[in-house]
Symmetry: C2
Subunit: 547 residues, 2 copies
Amino acid sequence: MGALRLPSLALLLSPCKSLRLRPSTLKAAATVSGGAGSRGLSSQSLAKEESSLSPPSADRKPSSSYEGSVTPRSVDFNAWYLDVIASAELADYGPVRGTMVIRPYGYAIWEAIQEYLNVKFKETGHSNMYFPQFIPYSFIEKEASHVEGFSPELALVTIGGGKELEEKLVVRPTSETIVNHMFTQWIHSYRDLPLMINQWANVTRWEMRTKPFVRTLEFLWQEGHTAHATLEEAEKEALQMIDVYKKFAYEQAAIPVIVGRKSRAETFAGAIRTYTIEAMMGDRKALQAGTSHNLGQNFSRAFGTQFTDENGQRQHVWQTSWAVSTRFVGGIIMTHGDDAGLMLPPRIAPIQVIVVPIWKTADEKNGVMNAVSSLKEVLHKAEIRVKIDDTEQRTPGWKFNFWEMKGVPLRIEVGPRDVANKSVVVSRRDIPGKPGKDFGISMEPSVLVTHIKSRLEEIQTSLLQRAISFRDSNIVDVNSYNELKEAIAGGKWARGPWSAGDAEEVKVKEETGATIRCFPFEQPQGQKKCFMTGNPADEVAIFAKSY
Amino acid sequence: MGALRLPSLALLLSPCKSLRLRPSTLKAAATVSGGAGSRGLSSQSLAKEESSLSPPSADRKPSSSYEGSVTPRSVDFNAWYLDVIASAELADYGPVRGTMVIRPYGYAIWEAIQEYLNVKFKETGHSNMYFPQFIPYSFIEKEASHVEGFSPELALVTIGGGKELEEKLVVRPTSETIVNHMFTQWIHSYRDLPLMINQWANVTRWEMRTKPFVRTLEFLWQEGHTAHATLEEAEKEALQMIDVYKKFAYEQAAIPVIVGRKSRAETFAGAIRTYTIEAMMGDRKALQAGTSHNLGQNFSRAFGTQFTDENGQRQHVWQTSWAVSTRFVGGIIMTHGDDAGLMLPPRIAPIQVIVVPIWKTADEKNGVMNAVSSLKEVLHKAEIRVKIDDTEQRTPGWKFNFWEMKGVPLRIEVGPRDVANKSVVVSRRDIPGKPGKDFGISMEPSVLVTHIKSRLEEIQTSLLQRAISFRDSNIVDVNSYNELKEAIAGGKWARGPWSAGDAEEVKVKEETGATIRCFPFEQPQGQKKCFMTGNPADEVAIFAKSY
């Protein structure tokens, strides 16, 4: 194993972690004093319980990888991000540089993304299918700007079955080329159009600077590919799909993305127009969270993808492609997370409610566990994703922190007094301390279910509102290059009228680090003057530093 | 494109297809005379309609790839198989030798497999996750029999980002090695066990002889990987998962697989025991349709995957892995298909009911289309997967053949007379002609839904029963090597007592082409004598030629 046995993310980035106070003692006390502590269990008793239940020191390495505290977000956003990924058990580094293992909890978030989008894709007339991932090298060279964009990032298979291959094979970085190769065989007449397909697949791009979820050598995504008889239809499709992504971002992920068109410099290699959803992360950097491309006839001309129209004329098809990837999981972490860890919008949370039973004596345990089981059953029947944490190795305090770290929207605590009162305490992940707690919620099924459902909806709405406020307070309208420089230097996004050229765009990037994220669909009214050149401008552009 | 633009499967294998009578004329007439023909539309009128609606001869290549008749199954099973895959639009060749494009209809069958198994995996305590597909070459070398089994089949990435890599990367042929590399980081104590995960992924094996679905360079599968504290637990898990596969095969795919243990020679490279489900195809060759391996401590010793047990001792974990792949789709085709094409068990059919409206005048069309829409709504609400084929380019006769080719279990025909009578004709795919038709089924929702649901269940049961009869009539009990030779030469499976060694197993293979498919779980009672050596035998083995 040797050199390839890499240390975990958390160890790698927080070398002095072992010197910190153990959070299971530290934080448990804090949490309990505002919550369970006031309900019969003192922080002392928890601390004691913790020490009696914790494993012998020879086995100090915890049985779950939860290592407790993470670097505060405000201190070092990047370290915080990596700590959260490690502590919430979302992902781990793979043995090959830049690769990532998506762990069950992280993968469950991806599954929530898949489930929603997969239904929307089918509703809008697309079918899933699967193309091979090995693409002949010559395919990549057919579309000029495509090869320019992708050739530096390719992984190549040169040996198969022990033999050097005659033609190198590209491990797909995206599938436009092989899709067109196949489309030429399936498309003959206008009656075969539109052809609208999607695939869920892994893709490989040999990135030099990687970051879990955000940019990895291999990642998972869906890629939609469509062919149409007219430019107008292709344009309508590209717009329809960016709208599907936008709705997903707002309604499910609670991420208030800004939708717009990419500048020419930022357009996909091979597209005539790229639409994007841009999200503001907690450090105010932009994340391109999904794109939809109008490919025009670029690939169909390169591959000869033609159809016979209603007049018997041969025409090249008009195409689109669009994709969302596991990068979106990174966007969710960086939009909603806080110092306590992950914070998941209820609609995509793998676990919406965590139930923590609390007891001291065997008698108490019986009563509590009975209550907890029927509670689980009630919530499960109401299609609420609920889990009981009844492991005996950990204290309630440790569990509170752990599930906060995992971003579970609601926690239900059930102790002996709650059983006696037939009520529970419900705590929100998004509001710390007492203000986020509802005391004395009846265990009566209909009351409890109604309460939980409405709280989950409230949290969903609240996370979106909070993100909208954050976004809007960090976008500055600029009317001069100096104002832009100031905004970007202050870590904000700058929005201003723009009609300058590619050269000026490069200049802005070189001098400020910011790029045009998009020309937003929502444009201010009135006449505009480019803040760079003073010439008339049709649109405002949004500039920001980005991932 | 040139050399890489391969002809389609059907063209490749049926060079004289264009010389055949066009099935849309030929078969439509035949079908109609027994069905719709007797209900108002003559075969002549259909033939006429066909010619008036068919595209101009310059556009003779059909707009769907349905090319009509396939090679009869009895004439050439392999040609039939490839014809069905092409005509039912299940898959196509990819541009790289041995790769396959899974088309929407074929992929939908795979999705049905995924949906069922995914739920079962979660119910049995497994979580989905994702491991990178690039594995350092050195990993593969760690487990001796594993490298021996897989090294001839590897695809290797040697160039990344334009540079020669220091260590070659294997494109995963299976993931035991990288799984163990990660397990060493996640497993510390007995409390971390069992660790039970699954991934849905693509895998690559550089096969020399390929066949769509059955054996392709790249294929899709799920691979389960688990780690346990004891051998007994691992064995229980391996058995549990082969039972999940068996139930899927019987209850969903209507394939009466035989479950058993592989011989030592056929055990997975790296396992101590392999369990298998073996299916008899229509040509009586065996298809290994799913496997579950007890890996013992082979990989944990190679990778150092250890845990601290309850007594504080370090132990190597005990592991399993298990997989089902897109090969299963090939098994479904080859179990149920007939000369008319695919025949899908209702539970996994992407479309369970195809509705074909029939009319001549515009007036008739109105009435028929209204009836058909409400019919669709009724069935859709009852969660029956229904589709209307209302394209005007094709005749009803062409459609009948096309959807038979696609294996849709039930067809509903709705013509003007049916609308007047408020009833429909329902035709079964599995029983040709009049005996498979129910005339005058009321369109009243509850009556229709009940009828369709019970017919679908009947078809599901009937396909399984038919396959069981076929299987049982093609397994011969043998008590001597000569009897085995005779059975195998007659294309059958041979079942007989076996306690001979690897050398004799090789001899059988060389002399007859048959291998031990498994020692079936269901064993006859009583004392047994090995048919090869005459020594006492504990078990019977099943021998067959296989894919």
